[in-house]
Amino acid sequence: MSEPFAPPAAAQGRPRSAIRVDLKAIAEMIEPGTRVLDIGCGDGALLDYLAHEKNVDARGIEISQAGVNACVAQGLSVVQGDADTDLKDYPTGGFDYAILSQTLQATWDPKAVLGQLVRIARRAIVSFPNFGVWHVRLRLLVGGRMPVTSSLSAAWYETPNIHLCTIDDFVELCEDLGVTIETAMVLDAHGRPKGLRAPGALANLLGEQGLFVLKRGA
């Protein structure tokens, strides 16, 4: 959440198709012409892609003012705000999709945030690093140290990721909240979808990231 904000691909003259693979996987789940809120939109790469490639009414929330300013300077509709405190302002069902990409684990109250996501949008798309992936387990079991991986790159004392979970933990939280899982998939280290049945024990062991489409109610 605190990376420097380079302009999105299109602004750098790269084609928009060059967005990160995991963002592409999210974009493919979104129907053209819909209204989307991307929470923790960072440099706005996904918003930019959705607005231009899918004719989406794309809005963003970003906690870093530098990120917000970079987005707005690209012509994107982004406000400075915090997933923990600001989602309550949005009207129920105001969006077709609410996207929370790689941000859930950094919120203070992931349960409340998930509840807000499925309230404000018909569908919530959530991705997060899977703390149950085998090498994380191994590092803790064998090394006895807090895991540091490509998707969890900060040391324990400075990580913004304060609420890490496994895919199975996440599924349980969805059940607790009475949220329906419409689609579940796992991604590899590059953000490419892995052909594993999810949720499931193997997905929880081999998936680097979980990517879920949720909707309110059972």
Binding site: C71, V72, G75, Q80, D89
Partner: protein, 404 residues
């Protein structure tokens, strides 16, 4: 909130020379464009009074395109006027927003048709208290009806009708200009494609009403004010108006900016005078601001326009729920605040953004880091300009505006 130039610091006398009238804006050779709202179709003011005929003095730059989709309305602040992008006919200074408006600038007069009108109640050509009341043949003075931000916008809307513009591409303004932007969106939701309220609020705060009241009391305490009827007496409450300006001017800056500009430096002297001359540069600067202001501004206009700001409360007008002001809005918003603005602090913009979110509006919100206080919106602030440029280009793309 007019463009201010530090200029050479002089040791201005505390009492401005009494002047009879700031400017005769009704003189046939006074520059600028005029539109008249006829007496037969008067403005119905929020107070219930019907006002007409009403003159709206305005300036325009650039060309309206064939499908009339490239019009931008710039709304000026308390003491601004319609001369947004050209040398001012009274002060000889550059237009107050020439940093933004002009050929090749962000509000590019080669792309957009840019309109800026002097507000109703103003003193640069639009009907205000210094003009002649047709019923009496004398200047209105305090008989002029109290006007609101809503009334100012109604007058602008009549001008926009007259110019044949159904839907404005953008309405933009800072401070009181930002209040007009919000009023436009709320009163004419179908007529504004994009809105840029800068350094402003959806309602005037208690602190700001208090500052305005200090200014008004300074004017009214001047014996030359004469209950507002100073024109027939051939005098003008210049001293009161200058003090009002000095007090207000402090609120447009920040402590950091004042300290950087002046610190405790002395004015044209090596040591303290042990008297009440302007020993300090900051005093001399304020006196200069006060005394030049009275050359171009009418004291009664100052009373009326500050009152209009005080009355502005978009939340109260919508049953206490600000979001109701924006229900169903399709306008694209770009809300801008500045970190050191203590007149219209970021918290006010944030409350506005929360309401816009609640209305599912398409909104961008940026807080610009600046130590220049409220005035930052008038100054060269590169980050503000880059954000505004991005927003305008994005909005133009959505509006389908094609530029050569």
């Amino acid at each position: 909130m007019f463009r201010r130039n530090l200029g050479p610091l002089q040791n201005e006398p505390v009492i401005a020379n009494p002047r009879i009238a700031a400017v005769d804006t009704t003189a046939p050779d006074f520059p600028g464009k005029r539109f008249e709202i006829p007496a037969e179709a008067p403005l119905r003011l929020d107070s219930g009074v019907e006002l007409g005929p009403v003159t709206v003095a305005y300036q325009s730059y650039g060309t309206l395109n064939a499908d009339r989709s490239n019009a931008v309305l710039v709304c000026h602040a308390l003491t601004g006027d319609q001369f947004v992008a050209e040398t001012h006919p009274v002060t000889g200074k550059p237009g107050w927003w020439e940093t933004l408006v002009g050929p090749g600038k962000l509000l590019d007069t080669e792309r957009y048709f840019i309109v800026c009108a002097n507000v109703l109640g103003g003193c640069m050509g639009s009907t205000g208290p210094k003009d002649v009341n047709p019923a009496t043949g004398k200047p209105w003075g305090l008989d002029f009806p109290v006007i609101t931000i809503g009334d100012m916008v109604k007058a602008q809307a009549r001008l926009i009708d007259h110019l044949g513009i159904e839907k404005l591409f953008c309405v933009i303004g800072g401070s009181m200009g930002g209040m007009q932007v919000l009023e436009w969106v709320s009163a004419y939701p179908e007529r504004v494609f994009a809105a840029v309220p800068v350094a402003t609020s959806y309602r005037h705060s208690a602190q700001n009403i208090a500052f305005n009241e200090v200014g008004r009391q300074a004017i009214m305490a001047d014996p030359d004010w004469r209950d507002g009827a100073y024109q027939p007496a051939g005098v003008m409450p210049s001293r009161g108006l200058a003090v009002a300006r000095m007090a207000a001017h402090i609120t447009y800056l920040s402590e950091t900016a004042l300290h950087r500009k002046f610190g405790r430096r002395l004015q044209n002297r090596a040591q303290l005078s042990y008297g009440f001359d302007a020993d300090f540069q900051v005093e001399s600067y304020l006196r200069h601001q006060g005394s030049t202001f009275v050359d171009r501004f009418d004291a009664n206009s100052y009373l009326y326009i500050t009152r209009a700001m005080d009355y502005f409360d978009l939340q109260a007008e919508h049953g206490g729920t600000l979001a109701e002001a924006f229900t169903g809005t399709k306008t694209r918003f770009c809300v801008v605040s500045f970190t050191s603005d203590w007149l219209f602090p970021t918290s006010e913009s944030r409350a506005l953004v929360h309401a816009l979110n609640a209305a599912a509006a398409n909104v961008s919100f940026v807080e610009i880091v600046s130590d220049k206080g409220h005035d930052a919106f008038l100054l060269d602030e590169p980050e503000f300009h880059s954000v505004l440029g991005g927003f305008l280009n994005g909005a133009a793309e959505h509006r389908g505006l094609k530029f050569r």
